[in-house]
Symmetry: C2
Subunit: 391 residues, 2 copies
Amino acid sequence: MRLSQRITTLSPDGDGWDLFYRARAMVRAGQPVTELTIGEPDTRTDPVILDAMARSAAGGHTGYADVPGIPALRAAIAARTEARTGVPTTPDQVIVTSGGQAALFAAHMAALDPGDRALHIEPYYTTYPGTIRATGGVPVAVKTRPETGFQPTAADLDAAAAGARTLLVNTPNNPTGAVYSRATCEAIAATAKRHDLTVISDEVYDTQVWQGEHLSPRALPGMVERTMVIGSMSKIYAMTGSRIGWIIAPETAIARLISLSLNTTYGVPGFVQDAALFALEQGDRLAAQVAAPFRRRRELAVGMLSQQQALTAMPPSGAMYMMLDVRATGLDGAAFADLLLDRHGIAVMPGASFGRAAAGQIRVALTVPDDRFATAFATLCDVAAGLAEGR
Amino acid sequence: MRLSQRITTLSPDGDGWDLFYRARAMVRAGQPVTELTIGEPDTRTDPVILDAMARSAAGGHTGYADVPGIPALRAAIAARTEARTGVPTTPDQVIVTSGGQAALFAAHMAALDPGDRALHIEPYYTTYPGTIRATGGVPVAVKTRPETGFQPTAADLDAAAAGARTLLVNTPNNPTGAVYSRATCEAIAATAKRHDLTVISDEVYDTQVWQGEHLSPRALPGMVERTMVIGSMSKIYAMTGSRIGWIIAPETAIARLISLSLNTTYGVPGFVQDAALFALEQGDRLAAQVAAPFRRRRELAVGMLSQQQALTAMPPSGAMYMMLDVRATGLDGAAFADLLLDRHGIAVMPGASFGRAAAGQIRVALTVPDDRFATAFATLCDVAAGLAEGR
């Protein structure tokens, strides 16, 4: 079968998930593995949310739901956005999508034509370049460095922006845990205005901030008209498996995104939308329950890191990950991750999965129960110390 | 906000849903409307299927599910395909998608690069041209005529095929109710081989056949390697709102489609997959329950049509629709549908929604309870008779 050029080039450098798949295979084979790989909260979706879903389905909400999202959910998402950012937001500026990933894809489809340059920040969430390539766009990475807290600089943004159409940013950031400062957000806005870029702002971790404050680029002056915000129930409410998210964008863009949704997904299950609506109606309670363990484990890890020298890290300001620089061990992130999995049954993501700039790093997800996390993290520190001493 | 060319041209001729939206607004405003528009079965998803979903969710299947589909469901879909078509099919030849529409989009993404010619049959399901345009492809309609039972002819297929990459066919057919004959399927296969086309075969109505037999083009010699089959739980199991479908394709294509899924949807809810698996495991029982009312209403309509002259129609061989030629009334399909909605509160789809070739037709969905359907269909016949007499 002849396949399109586009689909054969989605993952030209490997998709960065090799170690993850290897760890999953070991788990299936019955081997003990502590998985600190993907952003899957160890708390399951709260039973009260699942009850709301079951009630909706049993009550007959099993037919086609409104393709843009049911009106009550669009209104609840608009209200949440307005409450958290202070920016007036109407239901017509909201479309419900089949998860945050589908929102990222749709936003780029709405902004990019084949061949258009699309900026994203490196290190990046692994699907970013593939998502852009899937739309026919050309991904261009703007590198950030540990020394500047993985915040993009105004100079780097400006240097990359000539001729680009979009700028994808992510705060709180996966994989680095950075929460973008006001200065960073202002640089993003200034670059977008100077070069007429659409900002696609991935804010799916907006309730998981440990230090500083979440600021949405859309909230800066003049940015409502050039920003699409990506949101999701996945990380905020531990609803990863429900595949429901949203885009906030100007009404004209949403109208087109609805046409796209008709042709690509035909909407999201009504009973899942009712479950999301129920969760949002509970205020911050359920989201705070999901976030609390990540904050505890971050403190745990930061404490252990202060006792050793082999690993260097910026304490994450947000999200459910931390990036550790392993270069003092003499290994790069991939070799260190391999060794950790093979000898100690601990799975972490090699930094290179998030861009070559992070090749000396590993990403640790804070996603297993505290005691197990503490044990694994202590082992990780010991392994690093042993390697560093042996050099 | 600057939008992509692509997204602004998804629905250049209007999306064909105007009457549907107008009818929905009337329903919301409390007006009595009999909706014979979209393919939404009037039976809801069976409670035993919903119970399976609720059990799966409560049992903890609420995290990320395997992106290609859970292994047991891929195996069940492969087994179903093999049992119904006789073609050996492995789980590696299956990907689970967020519904049949997402499957149609993904299949075209896998086959088309921007600018590629993509054939589809007219009259067509309304999203077909937009789906092709969303991938950057150029939709080219191959017209079929009521006189030949809306079956595409070998000559018409061959004339359109030069330089094309794909051929999208749909049997049993929406909107015409045609079930493609062996001769038609052989013409499709011959054209595909002669012009090196990939056939995308939409078979979402494969359990709803009233006359003749469903034949999958993939089952013809040499076609496994050049066919992608679109399937869905929506119409077969009255699970339209669950948004779950699949693609059957060669393993190499499925591997690429998995990469695409990572970047566009990140899979389908695990609890929905468990519900689909449960439904498939019940054998033909649940599907037969869903199909039975459509067969009854088809008989009802065919009986009434035989008593009058103003409407001409081919009795549908499959699916949940019938096409009626209204030209003897002096009106085209759109004017007739408007009059029917405005004066009699009966909503049907204008034929032009499915392509200009069907402008003299209306499509009637067999999707309301028998007594209500009989009343509405009798009114429809009376209105047509009155108009035809008054000419």
